[in-house]
Amino acid sequence: MPKLTIDGIQVEVAEGATVLDAARQAGVRIPTLCHLENIQAIGACRVCLVEIESHRDLAAACVMPIADGMQVHTHSPRVRAARRTVVELLLSEHDGDCPTCSRNEDCELQAVARELGIRENRYPGEKSRRREDASTPALVRNTAKCILCRRCVTVCGDVQGVTALFPQYRGFKTAIGPAFDQDLATVACVQCGQCAAVCPVGAITERDQTDEVWAALSDPHKCVVVQTAPAIRAALGECFGYPPGTLVKGKMVSALRRLGFHSVFDTNFAADLTIMEEGTELLHRLRKALADGKDAHLPMFTSCSPGWIRYAEYFHPELLPNLSTCKSPQQMMGAVLKTYYAGKLGRKPAEMFVVAVMPCTAKKAEARRPEMNASGFSDVDVVLTTRELARMIRQAGIDFKALGEGQMDSPLGESTGAADIFANTGGVMEAALRTACELITGRELPFPNLHVRPLAGLAGVKEASIPITETVPAWSFLKGATLHVAVAHGLGNARQLIERIRSGAAHYHFVEIMTCPGGCIGGGGQPRLTSDAVRQARLAAIYQEDEHRALRKSHENPAIQQLYADFLGHPLSHKAHELLHTKYTPRPRVS
């Protein structure tokens, strides 16, 4: 392996590595802006400049390949002066006001300027053109703050396969945005927020709805309840200095009570409910296809990821009959809260205000879908991302680390380990299999510790086959069959999987798609910056949460059994259809 020195430190690195990789290995920090680990290395911003002995010019560490015997200086006076100039030039075009910016103190440009000790602006120049775009429910753009790093372009194009964003015009007029610099709402954008999750500055961010929640909380006529998604507990701590993968469920509940919510519920409850509905739907489709020989639109696709739903509506309308008709857990929870729970409280649906805390920006858009109003009012009123909840906790002056361990309210706060793993890629499938296989065979899912290992982890497309050797009498037509399932996360991976299915190269009965890489734990509303190492830590935390539960299968949740007995009847009942199921509409890609 080639040997080189970084600031005098000897390192041996693999062939093909970059100077940046070598520096990281040597424990030397080089500032970066446009670089995005495993995703983008384009040498555009020049913030990572280094000096290499016997090279005339400074080199961008993120794209400079290493060579044997190289001697690299990462913080020489020449390097520091050059980096400073680069960042000063960026700042000279940057039309931003840090104190009022949503990224204040969470901004990579600010951090780099601080790191380089920039105290004055030596290049007062023309500012980038300000073009504010608040056309979509989930995201807000402001091109004046854009530093043209292109991370969003690469993520939207290469990772998500959507390519809603692309450089438009050229020279000083260059703008990163939708076609012809039009509003995001006029093009096929799935609102996943992966662009906002990687933007180093405040040029693309989630729509901040904290003020709407503060207003509701101080309205005496409103009963303001909150639900939190499974992925929040494994990430919120990062906003308060905990390492990635720290579980903070108890503190999160305490914080929500301090903020003044009437009750605190777990979206996990609705995840268990989803498994009951979606699992039953799958079994019905299997019966129709395998026993009755009819077309039952297999494979069935999961429907809990609203970015995926929009993706299918824009790019694969022919697949809409294959999507499960189940609403996402967020929307099921809202519907149950405004009907069943409102009834228990003796409140009218109009007085209920449902806040959902989600790892996701697409859920903001989902909550605004006009058909999502089972009670006659929006199932969910406001969706906050993990980042916004952290902001509210800080605004309330709450010392998060000092909080005690709170408990979710009953009964809609009760859930099983199967619901926890909804946060992870492969988790919805595993949860569904835990219930469906047991219903079919009368025995527990035959995998160690109930984990379907081939479906877990960060591989883009995963699959498993489950032979059904024996069944209970009701499902005898499945005896001897093999259930084929597949999982994809990140819409670019989903596209590849769909291609294989369409070309006939692969056949499945059930497919799980999650919009974001890693699943909800890597959602567009999660604390920044989500690298693969952060994803792994959050995935592991969620599995740990699952394994510590007494109940780990959705159908064993006593509160769910109660809800069916008291209110819904049985899965896929008329009432369940009214409240918990929905329909999809093809969308034009340009409007």
Partner: protein, 182 residues
């Protein structure tokens, strides 16, 4: 900006019907499908057919070649050659390459803006002229240069631009005077 209006035959160099133009566009796209580097020639020919590149044409090309709409728009907005709005009968281009810039290209541009009453990229209300800027058309020896349609004019003085435009205005006036539809 793209116009929402469909391509209008009135401003097209081609007088074929809209359906006919789209049929030819589809043929054109089919010929370039799966070909690397096919986008730019398709855009050039499409602009020749329609006179400019309206939104519906761009969408058809994007879908036909399987290229993201934002990427196609990125290419169109990158090159000043492409127009998304109907152009005038004559396209006036002012060279702002280094030589022309140094020798007063800017002043020529200012004079043309004033004379035509439009900004760069715009078309006069009578649809006669579109004003554009260009990099360099290889007339550096006799800068500053402008072109009107395929004709290049060199050593242009700001005070003389009106004179240059007259011959492009006259035929229309003459035709209008005779009551002939242009």
């Amino acid at each position: 900006m793209v116009t929402d209006k469909p391509a209008q035959a009135g401003h097209c160099p081609e007088t074929a019907s809209r359906e006919e133009l789209f049929r030819r566009l589809d043929e054109l796209i089919a010929g370039y499908q799966g070909q690397a580097g096919g986008l730019i020639p398709v855009l050039q020919i499409a602009q020749g057919l329609f006179g400019h590149l309206p939104a519906d044409v761009v969408q058809r090309i994007s879908a036909g070649l399987g290229k993201p709409y934002s990427e196609v728009a990125g290419v169109i907005t990158f090159y000043s050659f492409f127009a998304t709005r109907p152009r005038g009968r004559h396209v006036v281009r002012v060279c702002l390459g280094t030589a022309c810039y140094v020798r007063g290209g800017q002043q020529v541009l200012a004079a043309l803006k004033k004379e035509l009453g439009v900004d760069v990229g715009e078309t006069t209300p009578d649809h006669l002229f579109t004003l554009e800027v260009a990099r360099c058309f290889g007339a550096c020896g006799l800068a500053p240069a402008i072109s009107i349609d395929d004709e290049v004019y060199q050593r242009v003085k700001p005070s003389k631009v009106r004179e240059l435009l007259v011959r492009y205005r006259e035929p229309v006036r003459a035709a209008a005077a005779q009551g002939v539809k242009s």
